[in-house]
Amino acid sequence: MTGRPSSSNDTGGIERRDALKLVGGSTLAVALAGCTALIGDESDDSTEDADVPDEPIEAGLQTFTEGAPAVLGLQAQYGAETAVRRINDDGGVAGREIDLDVVNEGDEHIQNYRQFVDEGKDVTFGPISSGGHEAMVPEIEDRGVVNVATDGTVTTLYEESFPDATYSFRFQNHDVMEALAAVNQAVEVLGADSIDTYAGINPNYAFGQDEMALFSSGIEKLTGAEEVYSGFPELGADDMSAHVTEVNGTEPDVVFSSCWGGDATLLLEQAHANGMFDSTDLLVGPVLYGSANDLSADLVDGPIYSGSRNFYWDEPGTDRWTPAADLVSEVQSEYDVVPTAHFMSGYGAVTAWATAAEKAVDVLGRWPEQDEIAAILEGHGFFTPAGYHTIGADHQGYSNAHFGELAWSDEYDAAILENVSVFAPKDVSPPPGTVSGDWIDAW
Amino acid sequence: MLEARNLRKTFGELRATDDVSLQFGTTDGEMVFIVGPNGAGKTTLVNLLTGLLTPDQGSVVVHQDDGDGSTVEREITGLAPEKRVDAGLVRSFQIVHVFEEMTVRENLRVAVLSERGETLNVLSFDDGHDGVERTVDDLLAQFRLEDVADEVADTLPHGDRKLLDVAMSFGLEPTYLLLDEPTAGVATREKEYVIETIAEASDADDVTTVTIEHDMDIVKSYADRLVVLHEGRVFREGDPSLLETDGELRRVLLGVDE
C-alpha cells in the first residue's frame, strides 16, 4: 500500500495522462500532490459538467493557535491553509472554492465541532489533541459532518474504541507507528546487542504515557533491554532537571522522549546543560522535530534522533523532488518557517477530504452527501508532496514514518534531519483488525 | 449560679488569669460589676467563662435547677460557645458585634430564632414565626428600638448599636449575661440611658449580669456586688461602697497615690 513517487527529477518520461492517473485522475489531485509543474495546469476535469452548487465549501479547522502548543498547532494551520490555497488556485473542488475558518481548539473540542456544525460547515478538520479527538468521535458520528483529524493520534481510538466509525477520520500516523519507528531507529543506530538499558522522559498525560508504554514493549521485545528510569514531567513543565538528573544517575543506553513543543526544547536545553549526553548513547524522540523552528545549533548537537511522523520536508530530497522543493519555498515565503510533520497533518487532512470529494463528484455526477464522501474516504489513496497516503478501512491514515538524526542548517536557520530512515506502515503498525499490543507481543 | 473555680490562663509569660474563683448569681437578677485597671484580666476572665478561650487550669460550672427544687452542677469548661448559650450563658463584646447588613428587627429575629432552636428549619420563612415576632416586638419595646426597627444596623448611632447588641443577648433568654464594657464608646449623656435600659431588662427577666465597667459612677449606682481584678487575681470582692472606703483599691484602680 505504500510506494513512493519516483524520486527522479527526470519528468520527461512521464506522460501527462500517466501522471494524472498516478495521482488520482484530476488536476486537483495533481495540484495537491505538488505536481502541477510537472504536467501543466490544463484542465481535464470530468467533474466540469457535474451538478454542483456554486457557493463555496465552508470548512472549519480547530487547532492550537496560541500558547505553548501553538508550536505544533500553527504548523497544522499553515498546512491546511496551504492546501486550501492550492485548491482554490486550481479552481476549487469540482469548481467550489473552500472557505476555511480556523479556531483555537483549547479544551473545548466537542463544543468547537458543534459550533462548526451549527454554522453549517460542510467539513471540519482537527484537532491536535489526542484526548480531544477521542472525545469528539461519538459527537461526529451523531452529527454526521465528516471530520478529518489532523493529529489526535491516540492509537486505540479506531482500533478499539470506535471500530465502526462512519464520519470520523484521521490523517496523521498513530502513536504506535511513531513509537515503534523510534524503537527501530534506536536498534538501527546502536544495534540490538548494544542496548541493555533504556529510560524515558515523557509528558505526563495520556499521550506521553501511551508512547512510553509502546516504546517499552517494542524495545524490550527487540533487544531485551531493561527499563532503568521512567519519568513523567507535567505537560508544559517549567523544569525537567529532576528527570535529567535521574537519567544521568542511571546511565541508560537509550533515552526515549515523546516531549513536544516547548517541552522538547526545554528537555534538550536541560539535557545539554546537565551533561545528559555524557550519560547516554542516544536520545530518540518521535516529535522532537516538531520544534524544528525553535531549536538552535547547540541544542541539536549530540546523538539525538527524531521522528517526523508522516512527513519530512527533505525526504525525498528537495534537490531531487520538485514538489517538496516547491512546498518548502512556498511555506518559507508565506510563513517564514520550515514545515514540520504537523504542517502535513493540516495539509494532508484537507487533501484527503478534497480529493475524496472530487472523486465522489466524478462518480456521482453531483455534489455528494456526507455519508457518500465518508464512504469514498474509506480506503481512499492520494498524493501529497510527502508521497502516497491511504486512509484505511479503519478510518486511520497510513503513510511512511520518518526518522532521522537532528542537525542544524544555517541555510534554513532551522533544525533539519539527516540520514532519514523511512519506515513503511506495515513495518510499524499492526495489520488492520489486530490490536497493537497483541501485534507487538507476537514480534 | 455560674461559678469559676481556680481558673488560670497564661499567654507566654503573662498570667492573664491567675487562680480566679468566683460565683455569680448567688441571688436572682444580681448585677455584678468587674472592675480593674487595664490588663487586669477582666476580658480574659469573661472569655474563659463564655468559651472564647479555654483555661489552662480550673473549671467553669453552672448550677442548674433540675426541676424539683434541688440543683445539679454541670461543668461547661470545654463546651463550645454556642453550646453554652443553651446553658443560659450569653455575652456581649467590648466592640459591638451585630449583623451589620441586617435591620434591627432581623438582628433580633435571628437571635430569637436561635434561642427557639429554629435555625435549622428550612421549611418555614424566617419571618413566619408569630411567637418569634411577638418576642422581637417585646425586645424592641423593652430596648426602645421601635423607631429604628427597620434601619440597617450599620447605619445606627453608636448607642443604639450597643442597645441592639444587648437586646440580642436578652433575646437569647439568658440566665447569666456577661457584658464587656457595654458603655464603652457611648457618648456620656447616653451612658446612663444604656445602662438603665440594661438594668431594667435584667431586673424584669431575673437575669444575672456580670458587667465589665470603667465608669465608677455607674458602678456605684448599679452594682449589687463588686469584683476587683488586679494582675489576673481577685483583688477585692464585695459591696460597691468599697470604692469609697478602700484606699488601696482606689490606688490600684486609678494608678495614682491620693
Binding site: V103, D107 | V90, D126
Partner: protein, 377 residues
C-alpha cells in the same frame, strides 16, 4: 443583607412577576431562538449548567460570605460520577447517571466541607483551591479515570436514555440527536426552576438567616448559639450538590468527560466570576452570568482574534458600570434610564462624568509613571 436590599429584591412585585415570566419564556424558547438566530443552543445549555453551579457557589458567597476557589471540584465529581457509571457499569438511564453524579458530588462536598468549614477569607478560598487541585491531580494520574483522555458517558456508542422521552420524539419523526438534546434541555430547565425555587425557600428560611448571620459576623453568630462550623458545612455540602447536579447534566450534554474542562482550578475561578458577573446579591444572577461568561469563553474565539481581551473588556465594563453585577444593577439602571428619559440633560452629565473619570485615570497613570521614571512630580 444590604446587598440584596440594593438590588432586585426592592423591585415592585408586579415588575418581578413580569421579569420571572419573561425569563422563563426566554428559557423555554431557547431551542427555537437558536434555530432562527446564529445563537448556539449547545453553548447556552452549557452556560445554564455552569450558571447552576454558580447558583450553588453563590449560596456560600452571598450568605456565608465565603469565597470558594474550588467549586468545579463538585461539578467535575458529578460529571465523572455519571461517566464512571456509564463506562464501567453500563448504566444507560440518564436519571440513574444523574443520581450517581449527585451522590459522588455529595460525598466529596461532605469531606471537603468538613475540612474547610472552620477557615475564613483567603484561607478558605485557597484551601478549596488546594482540594480542587489535589482532586484534579488524582484524576489526571488515575488510569481508572483514563487520565487526561477522560471517560465516555455512553454505553458503547449509545446515548443515555432520558425516560424514554427522547424515543417518543424520535418516533414523532425528530432526528435522534436533536430529540436527545431537546429533552435534555427541558430537563435542565425543569431542574433549574426547581433548584432556584428551593434556593429561594432556603435563603428566606430561618436557616438562610442563620447563614447570613454567620457571613456577617461569625463571632456574634457563635455567641447567639449558632453552631457555625456545622452550618457552614451543611451550606457547603448543599452548594456542592448543586455543582454535582450541574456536572451530571453536563456529562449528559457533552457525553464525554475530560479533567481539564471540568476539574481544573481555573474553571473554579470562572464559576466564581459567573456569580459576580450576574450579580452576587441576586438569586438568578449567577445563571445569567454563567450563560454570558460561557458564551464569551467558548465562542468569542470564533468571531475575533483577540477574544481574551474582548472577554476582559466586558468584565471590566461590568466592574465599573454595573457595580452590582448584570442582574443586580438592573433596578438602579432602570431607575437611571427612567430619570434620563424625563430629563435628557442628564445624559450630557453622564458623558462628562465618564470623560472626566477617564481623563482623571489617565492623568493619574501619567503622573505616576512620570514620578517613577523621572523621580519628580
Amino acid at each position: 443583607m444590604s446587598r440584596a436590599r440594593l438590588s432586585a429584591e426592592n423591585l415592585p412585585t408586579s415588575v418581578r412577576v413580569v421579569l420571572v415570566v419573561l425569563g422563563l419564556g426566554v428559557l423555554l424558547a431557547v431551542p427555537d431562538l437558536a434555530r432562527v438566530t446564529p445563537l448556539s443552543f449547545a453553548t447556552i445549555h452549557k452556560g445554564l449548567l455552569f450558571g447552576l453551579a454558580a447558583v450553588g457557589l453563590n449560596l456560600l458567597l452571598r450568605h456565608t460570605e465565603l469565597v470558594s476557589f474550588g467549586h468545579v471540584a463538585f461539578f467535575g465529581t458529578g460529571a465523572y460520577g455519571a461517566a464512571v457509571l456509564a463506562t464501567y457499569y453500563e448504566v444507560s438511564s440518564g436519571l440513574v447517571l444523574l443520581a450517581g453524579a449527585v451522590l459522588a458530588a455529595t460525598a466529596v462536598a461532605l469531606v471537603v466541607g468538613y475540612l474547610v468549614a472552620g477557615h475564613l477569607d483567603i484561607y478558605f478560598a485557597l484551601l478549596t483551591l488546594a482540594f480542587n487541585q489535589v482532586l484534579f491531580a488524582f484524576v489526571v494520574q488515575s488510569s481508572f479515570f483514563n487520565s487526561t483522555d477522560g471517560l465516555s458517558v455512553r454505553v458503547g456508542v449509545d446515548r443515555p436514555s432520558l425516560l424514554g422521552l427522547d424515543q417518543l420524539l424520535v418516533s414523532a419523526g425528530l432526528d435522534p440527536v436533536q430529540a436527545y438534546n431537546y429533552v435534555l434541555y427541558y430537563l435542565t430547565v425543569a431542574i433549574l426552576v426547581v433548584v432556584v425555587l428551593v434556593t429561594w425557600k432556603l435563603v428566606n428560611s430561618p436557616f438562610g438567616r442563620a447563614l447570613d448571620a454567620i457571613g456577617q459576623d461569625r463571632t456574634r453568630a457563635r455567641f447567639i448559639g449558632i453552631p457555625v462550623e456545622r452550618y457552614v458545612w451543611i451550606a457547603f455540602t448543599i452548594s456542592g450538590i448543586y455543582g454535582g447536579i450541574a456536572g451530571g447534566l453536563f456529562a449528559l450534554l457533552q457525553l464525554h468527560v475530560r479533567p481539564e474542562p471540568v476539574l481544573f482550578a481555573f474553571v473554579s475561578g470562572e464559576i466564581l466570576f459567573m456569580a459576580i458577573l450576574g450579580g452576587v446579591g441576586t438569586l438568578v444572577g449567577p445563571i445569567v452570568g454563567g450563560v454570558i461568561l460561557v458564551y464569551l469563553l467558548d465562542l468569542a474565539r470564533f468571531y475575533v482574534t483577540y477574544y481574551h481581551a474582548l472577554t476582559g473588556i466586558v468584565l471590566l465594563a461590568v466592574v465599573y458600570f454595573l457595580p452590582e453585577g448584570i442582574l443586580g444593577s438592573l433596578p438602579a439602571l432602570g431607575a437611571a434610564i427612567e430619570r434620563r428619559r424625563r430629563d435628557p440633560g442628564l445624559v450630557r452629565n453622564d458623558v462628562e462624568t465618564v470623560v472626566t473619570s477617564v481623563r482623571r485615570s489617565v492623568r493619574r497613570a501619567v503622573t505616576t509613571v512620570r514620578i517613577l521614571v523621572f523621580g519628580v512630580n
